[in-house]
């Protein structure tokens, strides 16, 4: 015997999808044989009738919600009808409603555009492909995967070096960037010791010991074990050394590696000398040439490398003799200031400006420079109640004096923009001031001018240049030439053979895309970093023919 029960709810509307779900819920109840839940339109009533779910006695209008249950007993039917509200209220809270996990690197980049790093831990034969894609997207690579061919490693690192990007690895187990551990990393204090490590556990041992000695780490850059072999040529180690040398927050650098090829050891030691920073070198098993050569110290164990670096750090706090370390640019032309900043940011750091290119370059108080600074004096902040600096040099002269009073300043850069409307003789006005400044200043101070104009300008270009040169100034006709000159003097790698790694990227809060081991993603999140995990699978489901075809079709 079967029983049919129904319930009509006047003027109640639910989308049909919700109703189908309710119907499915009713069917799951004990004793229920069939159920229909519909808005009682003619078409729906016909449908119920077809399935013998529409007793003649039901009366319902098209706007009514009609719930019909067929069950094996009266009680089952009544119970089912009684459950309707509960079922309607039921939310699929148990369903896994997580954030979307991208399947491709490019989708991940869209999801987290600020990510500068890609962690790769997919099986070796796919790793180079993923790394190549990451580099193409302009991201630094932490390549945990092993079994990457030497050819691929060399190609990846050369490509990265051209773009000013780092490839840490392959087979790189650990790194610490801006306080965030990548891969296997100990939780260590932030500090002023930088590490370049071709040995993962070596790096862990040294960073942990430095922490236990009370100091901390600025960045620890891994290179992968083969980086210091002749074939690879220490591409990553050289880049890492260079970027840490330019980092004002890194006072001491520790270089750790298993025995490098002799030619590589020589070139690294030479590069280390040129940084001018205290560098502690521990080439495991490689006989140190001496305990100390100039700024270099050679350690004989991991723990000693840590101890020496902490000791050097204390010494480095003593003020150094050469103080004239910074350039200050005082511009009347906004675009010239911007172009100069754009050129300088690649080679000198930290650099600040009241017209920054990226937010962390912002000079919070435009009235007071810090480190390297480029000021646009034509900015409206300075213009209140004043003539433009192209006409009126008063503000610039006062700022020149202010900058010169800072003994850390080694160069003052300014522009002279000639033409109609500009000051009629800027050189004539500036030269006496500079002369006066030089008389009061003890340390070295260079003045560099960028002059823009033509011989037909009222001020006469050649006459202005001659006056400035006679007044002892270095004169350039373009910002580009001036940038080159400044970089040679203040850039730490003065004859860089490669595109320098952008130091500012290292200093941004770390955001990364993880491709491979999910535990690396969890670790990033638990350290407070922003991260996106890519639900990676082998391309074309592992079908090599299709995968290689796809590679050809991407070009």
């Amino acid at each position: 015997m079967t029983v049919i029960k129904w319930n009509v709810r006047a003027g109640t509307y639910y989308d049909s999808v919700v109703l189908m779900q309710l119907q499915r819920g009713l069917l799951e109840l004990p004793g229920v044989l069939d159920a229909g839940v519909v808005m009682a339109t003619q078409a729906n009533r016909d449908l119920l009738a077809t399935n013998n779910l529409l007793p003649d006695s039901i009366s319902a209008n098209p706007d009514d919600l009609l719930i019909v249950v067929k069950a094996d007993t009266e009680n089952s039917a009544t119970d089912a009808i009684g459950k309707v509200d509960e079922l309607l209220a039921r939310r699929k809270s148990s369903s896994v409603s997580q954030d979307f996990r991208p399947r491709s690197l490019s989708a991940a980049v869209k999801q987290l555009p600020e990510a500068n790093w890609v962690l790769i831990s997919v099986p070796g034969r796919y790793a180079a492909g993923v790394a190549r894609e990451a580099l193409e997207l302009g991201k630094h690579v932490f390549l945990y995967s092993d079994n990457v061919s030497l050819e691929d490693e060399i190609a990846l690192k050369k490509s990265a070096r051209e773009k000013g990007l780092l490839v840490m690895g392959p087979d790189c187990g650990t790194a610490i960037i801006n306080g965030i551990g990548l891969g296997f990393a100990n939780r260590v204090r932030r500090g002023s010791i930088g590490i370049v490590g071709a040995s993962g556990t070596g790096t862990q041992a040294v960073t942990a010991h430095i922490h236990n000695l009370g100091s901390g780490i600025s960045h620890a850059i891994g290179t992968g074990g083969r980086d210091l072999k002749s074939d690879v040529g220490a591409i990553t180690a050289q880049q890492a050394l260079d970027v840490l040398a330019r980092d004002d927050d890194t006072k001491v650098i520790v270089l750790i590696s298993k025995p490098p090829s002799p030619d590589i050891a020589t070139s690294l030691i030479s590069a280390a000398q040129k940084t001018g920073k205290p560098i502690v070198i521990y080439f495991i098993g490689y006989p140190p040439p001496a305990r100390k050569i100039g700024n270099l110290r050679f350690a004989i164990s991991l723990s000693e490398a840590a101890e020496i670096s902490v000791g050097e750090l204390e010494d480095s706090r003593i003020p150094q003799s050469s103080n004239s370390r910074f350039v200050r640019g005082l511009f009347s032309g906004g675009t010239l200031a911007y172009e100069t900043l754009l050129g300088l940011q690649a080679s000198i750091s930290p650099i600040y400006s009241n017209a920054p290119i990226t937010t962390y370059q912002l000079l919070e108080d435009p009235l007071h420079s810090r480190a390297h600074t480029i000021i646009d004096l034509g900015d409206e902040f300075f213009m209140v109640g004043r003539l433009h600096p192209m006409i009126d040099n008063d503000l610039r002269i006062r700022r020149m004096k202010q900058e010169a009073a800072d003994e850390q300043v080694g160069m003052i850069l300014f522009d002279v923009v000639l033409g109609e409307g500009s000051h009629i003789n800027p050189a004539g006005e500036l030269i006496p001031v500079i002369k006066e400044i030089r008389e009061t200043r003890t340390g070295e101070l260079e003045f560099v001018a960028i002059v823009i104009g033509t011989d037909d300008d009222p001020q006469n270009l050649q006459s202005q240049i001659d006056q400035l040169k006679d007044g002892g100034m270095t004169v350039f006709r373009t910002a580009t030439e001036a940038v080159e000159h400044i970089s040679l003097r203040f850039g730490s790698n003065k004859k860089s053979e490669f595109t320098p790694v952008n130091l500012d990227q290292l200093k941004q809060p770390l955001a990364a895309i993880n491709v491979g081991l999910e535990s690396f993603y969890d670790s990033l999140i638990s350290q407070g970093a922003q991260a996106v995990h890519v639900e990676w699978r082998p391309p074309a489901g592992g079908n090599e023919k299709l995968a290689s075809l796809l590679t050809r079709m991407k070009k």
């Binding site: 989308d15 999808v17 919700v18 189908m20 779900q21 119907q23 499915r24 069939d34 159920a35 229909g36 839940v37 519909v38 339109t41 078409a43 729906n44 016909d46 449908l47 119920l48 077809t50 399935n51 779910l53 019909v68 939310r91 699929k92 369903s95 409603s97 997580q98 954030d99 979307f100 991208p102 399947r103 491709s104 989708a107 869209k110 699978r537 391309p539 074309a540 489901g541 079908n543 299709l546 995968a547 075809l549 796809l550 050809r552 079709m553 991407k554 070009k555």
Partner: protein, 416 residues
Amino acid sequence: MSMDIDQANQTAVNRMMEARPILKAVATARDVIPGMKDNLFLHAGPPIEWARMSGPLRGAIIGAMLFEGIAKSEAEATPMVERGEVEFDSCHHHGTVGPMAGVTSASMKVYVVENAEHGNKSFSNLNEGYGKVLRYGAFSDDVLKKLHWMNNVLGTALADALAQSNGIDLRALIAEALHMGDEGHNRNKAGSLIYLKLISPLIAKVVKDNAAESEVLQFIGDNALSVLNPVMAACKAMTDAAHGVEGSTIVTTMARNGTDFGIRVSGLGEKQWFTAPAEIPVGLFFSGFSQDDANPDIGDSAITETAGIGGFAMATAPAIVTFVGGTPKDAVNATLEMYEITFAESKYFTMPVLDFRGTPTGIDLRKVVELGIAPRINTGIAHKNAGVGQVGAGLVRPPLKIFEDALLAFAEKYNI
């Protein structure tokens, strides 16, 4: 290889997005559809012969033969087909699309959509509403009676009404409906109401008899799928505009005939289909029906996903999230997944919930194969037996194999 696939794809998706489908007219199929003739029956999906047709498609063809008066009964129709007295072809070879069986015959009234940007035309039959209908393979007397009414009364009213206007801009209609909770495939409630709003004053002008006018308006308004067919024709006009771009890997057709799932690709041949057995959709079922009753995937309505709406625009249709797991977030994730395999984001179809991001547009064969993600298609589910009708709605994905086959054919054609 000198060919630039990305460039070709950009051209193809630009043509798809910039196409401007305008609903211009309702006319008789034989007068407007290229190549249409009296014994030709167009059907949904890739071309298929009678022997391999599924129940609903066979039923719809018999129904159309009865409607045309070629046969008097099923008993008369079947032997005629077997003797080869009627011809079949894919709707897509004639600029046409139809939901479910998609059967379109010479005397049927069809919507005429014109792409104002590129000049191509597309066609779709009129939507019959719910219950026992031809598109699900039903051909009983009342089904035929309704079809005749649609042709004579509804079709004439629509034809006269549209003749009074400059046409209905379907791109604008779809864009608006996407902001009102439609995704344009399984949910067309808002779009159908917009359509009713636009067509009502025109119908009032041309239908003299009050009772007939009321009947026509009632029919359009009661059917939340009224606008599905014009929308599909609009998508067809868009995707046809994107077809035939040399070197492009953009998919320009996804369609099912109830037996096979087929796709076509912009940079490959006009009639070059890649097919594999259609999957059975997974979904929610009407009372009295279950998964066991479901026919393999059928219909041309996947043209909506091909054009970047439907399942691809799931994020904007929160009312029907149950299809994709139950929460609005699942719906958003469904759309985010489709960005992985598409080349562009629509300039015109946007989704408020994603900060008005454009819908994922232009399926790139390469991405589908590389990531192993097949397109998501929202779909109605037909009963496997002819004439029973719709039994549910749900989600289906095409078999990956057809994308792999297409990729290999592409590589062969272009010597990659």
